[in-house]
């Protein structure tokens, strides 16, 4: 009896062990490549902004007073498609947004990318169509991204709309100190229908970049010239110094480009200036799994503190004039000029960007808390954004984030209306 029981126990144990061994199975044949693939995500992003009624930008928008808080939501469908047919491939990326909230609703559809490519041989590739081309090594800002739209300073990794272009890439690997080299040439047309927001005037611009992996350092040299904007040159680099430390940097220059400022009397000036932009940064991983990204940004043609004060003076005068006379003309012009100035990103001259994120604190897998500081060094105003991201549920990304803007009323961050903002985001990938 005891022997039978022992045998039974051993059998059960053996069966359990077999089951444990079989709990991990994997067969590569289940992952045959398909020529067409589709994917994307659905996103819901509600936000609540606590508004500062004394902020200059708020008063410009609400001269007769307004709400102290604003709730908004964004429902986004991000769709991606790809065709990989050997030497020929195609990419499609679209975004459909539904916006709603206290200030009304809106809907938008953006064709972010739609291009086809031909891998002529292992070295040469041709692409044609609407494509996002991201140059530069900076996280928060890329002054050498000549063919891209400005990054969203609050969310620099967000995909952005590309431009229509024809591009050629030639790449070659070597075995010496130059490990590989790649040359990219692109032609970007601009008409009223094609790339209407690429530069200022119609015509064709030509851009090129030479990439080298030289002695374990990424080095890029780039330039753009043509009808639609000023001539610009640039370079960037990135290198791992240790297993937990990497450095990067960018520099761009333009011999002459317009710099917009507003005089205290409301006169818009567009001076032609020589423009230099610089970014230096590092990424450091501590033993506690905290990643620091530190970047210094210098935006030569950006607004100085006195430029900001001049515009503030004009905006305050326009507001006083409206309140005294009811005349909306100066107020409307102040709003228009404010939008024009804000369209240049970054707005100011010198910034510090610091992001600290901790991977899986306390052993909690897939949880990444982070805090991001962006400071205008000229007026000492800053934004602080604590957040937590959780990706533990397969194909879900959950994020909670707050934005705190701190600064004097006339400063960049202190002048914005939404002094505190809370945001939740849920993304379901498919």
């Amino acid at each position: 009896m005891t022997l039978r029981l022992t045998c039974l126990c051993l059998l059960c144990l053996a069966a359990g062990m077999v089951a444990a061994e079989e709990e991990f199975t994997f067969d590569a044949s289940e992952y045959e490549a398909e020529p067409f693939s589709f994917g994307g995500y659905l996103e819901l992003r509600p936000t609540l902004s606590l508004l500062d009624r004394c902020a200059p930008a708020y008063e410009l928008g609400h001269p007769d007073g307004g709400p102290g808080a604003e709730a908004r939501y964004l429902l986004r469908a991000h769709l991606e498609g790809a065709y990989d047919g050997g030497d020929v491939y195609a990419r499609l990326r679209t975004e459909a947004d539904l916006l709603g909230g206290d200030s009304g609703g809106d809907a938008a559809f953006t064709l972010q990318e739609a291009y086809a490519g031909w891998q002529v041989n292992p070295y040469l590739t041709l692409d044609v169509g609407k494509k996002q081309v991201k140059w530069g090594t900076g996280y928060s800002w890329s002054p050498v991204a000549f063919l891209d739209r400005p990054k969203d300073a609050d969310d620099p990794d967000l995909p952005r709309e590309g431009f229509n272009m024809l591009s050629v890439d030639y790449v070659k690997a070597f075995s010496g100190s130059i490990q590989n080299a790649a040359l990219t040439l692109a032609a970007v047309p601009r008409t009223s229908d094609i790339n209407p927001d690429f530069g200022d005037t119609d015509g064709t611009s030509y851009a090129g970049r030479l990439h080298l992996l030289w002695d374990n350092t990424d080095i890029d040299l780039m330039a753009i010239s043509g009808d639609s904007g000023p001539v610009r040159y640039g370079m960037d680099f990135a290198r791992n110094l240790q297993t937990n430390l990497a450095i990067h940097g960018e520099w761009s220059t333009s011999p002459s480009e317009p710099r917009l400022t507003v005089a205290p009397d409301g006169t818009l000036r567009a001076d032609q200036v020589s423009a230099n932009r610089l970014l230096l940064g590092l990424r450091y991983l501590t033993e506690d799994d905290v990643t620091y990204i530190l970047e210094y940004q210098h935006n030569g043609p950006g607004l100085s503190r006195s430029d900001m004060d001049d515009f503030s003076t004009y905006a305050e005068d326009a507001l006083e004039q409206y309140r005294a006379t009811g005349d909306t003309a100066a107020l409307a012009r102040a709003r228009q000029l404010s939008r024009l100035l804000q369209s240049a990103q970054p707005l100011g001259r010198n910034y510090l960007y610091l992001r600290a994120s901790m991977q899986e604190p306390g052993g909690i897998l897939y949880l990444t808390p982070a805090i991001t500081l962006r400071m205008n060094l000229d007026d000492a105003s800053f934004s602080l954004a604590p957040e937590a991201v959780y990706t533990g549920f397969t194909n879900w990304e959950l994020r909670g984030r707050a934005y705190l803007l701190v600064g004097e009323p006339g400063s960049e961050f202190g002048g914005k209306p939404g002094q505190t903002r809370f945001e939740l985001m849920a993304r379901l990938y498919f």
Binding site: F24, T25, F26, D27, A28, S29, Y31, A33, S37, G39, Y41, E80, A82, D84, G86, Y89, G117, P122, Y123, T125, Q132, K134, W135, G136, Y139, D157, L158, P159, D169, V171, K172, A173, Q179, N180, A182, T184, H211, L213, N216, D218, A238, R239, N240, Q242, T243, A246, R283, L285, Q359, G363, L365, Y366, T391, G392, T394, N395, E397, R427, Y429, F430
Partner: protein
């Protein structure tokens, strides 16, 4: 005078004999390490891997990866699953590593101690080069059918300062590897299990498991399938190709 010289000369001879023995042992060990590398996989290959992170409560997260490797120092990898990671690719050229995320749209440098998947495996585990490329053998001893190698990182750019590798002497395959700091602190242990014939003369463990005293209760498992010799052009291992990794499948 002669008597006075005897001791130093004796010591010199002993040191020379001991040194040459150590050198011979290290040379033999390095040769064994190269054999281990080639038994684990061909110098240039493609493979599919499933990486499973298991939490203390049994909850799992799985990733499916397509990998190509060429020579001693080139590895590229494409995420096939889950949907949230699909299209991501990583590239390693020697000590350089990059991550390409489709929504970000450009390769970003990463470091070997980070982890693109979370869990116990870090980037250097997932984008592993040949052991003999990154480590040199400083000690070797035999215990029955097992050879125990002590490995030291060749440069400071290598993720672990020291490895202790248990090798099945007959099969020339590792059974266990301890990853340690220079101060001999255990970071993680890799267990090689389930020896399988992949065809083409490749017979190796189909499963690698890892646990770590730094992640108590967690473990990660790597399953191999579709491992076969394949040589692709060097230009595949360039930043511009990271967005096109899917065309290799």
């Amino acid at each position: 005078m002669t008597r006075h010289l005897k001791l130093p000369i004796g010591l010199l001879i002993a040191a020379a004999v001991f040194g040459s023995a150590v050198a011979a042992s290290a040379g033999e060990g390095d040769e064994l390490l190269k054999q281990v590398d080639r038994k684990l996989e061909p110098a240039s290959y493609e493979s599919y891997r499933k990486l499973i992170n298991v939490e203390p409560d049994g909850k799992r997260k799985e990733f499916v990866l397509f990998t190509v490797k060429k020579g001693h120092d080139k590895v590229a990898m494409l995420f096939l699953e889950p949907a949230s990671e699909k299209g991501r690719s990583t590239l390693r050229l020697g000590d350089n590593m990059w991550l390409y995320v489709p929504k970000v749209g450009k390769p970003v440098r990463i470091t070997s101690l980070q982890s693109v998947t979370g869990g116990v495996f870090n980037n250097s585990d997932i984008l592993r080069l040949d052991y003999s490329k990154e480590y040199t053998v400083t000690g070797m001893k035999k215990e029955g059918g097992t050879t125990i190698l002590t490995l030291k990182a060749r440069t400071k750019a290598v993720a672990y300062d020291k490895l202790i590798m248990w090798v099945d002497s007959a099969r020339k395959l590792p059974t266990k590897i301890e990853c340690r700091t220079a101060a001999n602190m255990l970071i993680k242990t890799l267990y090689f299990k389930d020896i399988k014939d992949f065809g083409g003369g490749i017979v190796r463990p189909a499963r690698v498991e890892t646990d770590s005293p730094l992640h108590k209760g967690y473990r990660s498992v790597m399953l191999f399938s579709g491992l076969k010799a394949r040589t692709v052009k060097d230009e595949v291992f360039t930043l511009g190709f990271m967005a096109k990794m899917g065309t290799l499948r």
